[in-house]
């Protein structure tokens, strides 16, 4: 949680958050400011809300090194958390790095394990999912049916417009994530004619804000996408890639990165570190891996979020 969130309650309005009882439910938020409202209020919130969905990210199926000897096992545990959620989520969004090396067996296992939750799944690739000879063809053939370009798409659910963007394709030397002009043109068309009161949820693997450019944690042409989104009253951006929770609110746009289900990475700018797997003591690993539940409450701009670790 960044320091600049201090005092955000009044400034940003309606930034009520809940902290659920029990370890592992890290916090939920709407705008980045945590505040306990207790279980009763949480239950009331559940009643009032429209629906919930789940974000899962960076499963890196196939990864089997010191930071996590068995990424399949922790992915299975994450899926069990989803299946056990008291309110059935409408669907699951996987925000990329499904696999470690884009191998068929890795995609196969990821798909089978995640389908175990018994919910519809929407996928976008991370850079690890484009490592086949076809530069992402294996991923798109399996998970990207009906998508455009490098795999972008949009859909509507319960009055919310979901936009899935791809920012891991055609990366340039020295650069960060990239959306590209074709995708930006598509986004412009996709948003055109939609009411500014339509809540928007944007998915992209690499963060859409300059979280730590020195490590490539940002997207070079994100500003152009955000300009297209600026007229909407509620925009929630869900990213993966950095294997930890970071968040930021800019005007009516809230940005959230998610935990991985495979391994953690260092905090941005950690001295002598690099943006790769971070090994923590084995008994602490499940405390830094997890899944995210996002709630949509009609009439509220912010979408309350609950991040749940595997240690719960």
């Amino acid at each position: 949680m960044s320091d600049d969130d201090e005092g955000g309650h009044s400034r940003r309005g309606l930034l009520k958050c809940m902290t659920w009882a029990g370890t592992g439910l890290v916090w939920s938020l709407a705008g980045g400011v945590p505040a306990s409202i207790g279980l009763e209020a949480a239950a009331a919130t559940r009643k009032a809300r429209g629906f919930s969905f789940v974000q899962i990210s960076d499963s890196h199926i196939g990864f089997a090194k010191a930071a996590n000897p068995d990424a399949r096992a922790t992915f299975r545990e994450a899926v069990a958390k989803i299946a056990a959620m008291p309110d059935r989520p409408a669907f699951i969004l996987h925000t990329g790095d499904v696999s470690q090396l884009s191998k068929d067996q890795e995609f196969d296992d990821a798909e089978q394990i995640l389908n175990g939750a018994g919910l519809p799944v929407f996928w976008i690739p991370g850079e690890h999912d484009l490592l086949d000879e076809g530069n992402g063809k294996a991923f798109l053939d399996r998970f990207g049916k009906g998508t455009k370009g490098a795999g972008w798409y949009s859909f509507d659910h319960g009055g919310v417009h979901f936009v899935a963007l791809i920012n891991v394709q055609n990366l340039k030397a020295g650069g960060m994530g990239s959306l590209g002009s074709d995708q930006l043109a598509w986004l412009k068309d996709d948003l055109a004619g939609r009411s500014a009161s339509t809540p928007i949820v944007v998915l992209a693997h690499i963060p859409l804000w300059a979280l730590y450019p020195q490590w490539g944690w940002g997207t070079d042409d994100a500003a152009q996408a955000l300009a297209l989104l600026a007229r909407f009253g509620s925009v929630t951006v869900l990213n993966g890639h950095i294997h930890q929770i970071q968040q930021k609110v800019e005007g009516r746009v809230s940005f959230h990165t998610a935990m991985s289900t495979a391994f953690p990475q260092p905090a941005p700018g950690t001295p002598n570190a690099s943006p790769g797997p971070m090994t923590v003591p084995a008994d602490q690993l499940r405390g830094v891996l997890g899944v995210r539940e996002v709630n949509f409450i009609p009439g509220r701009h912010a979408l309350p979020i609950v991040d749940q670790t595997l240690a719960a």
Binding site: Q100, H128, A173, M176, G216, P275, G276
Partner: protein, 110 residues
């Protein structure tokens, strides 16, 4: 300070010395490039025409070697994997990791 950190600092000092001497007079320490901690090392490597440059990934994440002009590119290199390319013509060849594009390097062929 860990031995790894010391080695890195030494490598950094070495790299500055290398630049200070001028690329032309500094002899490249062979034609091997190690990929370690999200860096190509050495990032600029000088070889003579006809040399084979070998990149080896020592990180626990996959990397690639891709020329900026796409004239050469490796498959994904997992831990311990190598990629070789023969540079026949003098010139400066800039490349990067297409997965982590902040990682950049150069092969200077004399």
């Amino acid at each position: 300070m860990s031995p790894k950190t010391l080695a890195k600092r030494a490598a950094t000092v070495g790299a500055f010395a290398f630049l200070a001497l001028g690329v032309a007079r500094a002899a490249a320490p062979g034609s091997a490039v190690s990929i370690d901690n999200f860096t190509f090392n050495p990032a600029p490597i000088v070889v003579s025409a006809g040399s084979t440059v070998t990149w080896t990934n020592n990180d626990d994440v996959p990397h690639t070697v891709r020329a900026d002009d796409a004239s050469f590119h490796s498959a994904a290199l997992d831990t311990g994997d190598s990629f070789k390319f023969v540079f026949t013509k003098p010139g400066v060849y800039s490349y990067f990791c297409s997965i982590h594009p902040k990682m950049v390097g150069k092969v200077i062929v004399r």
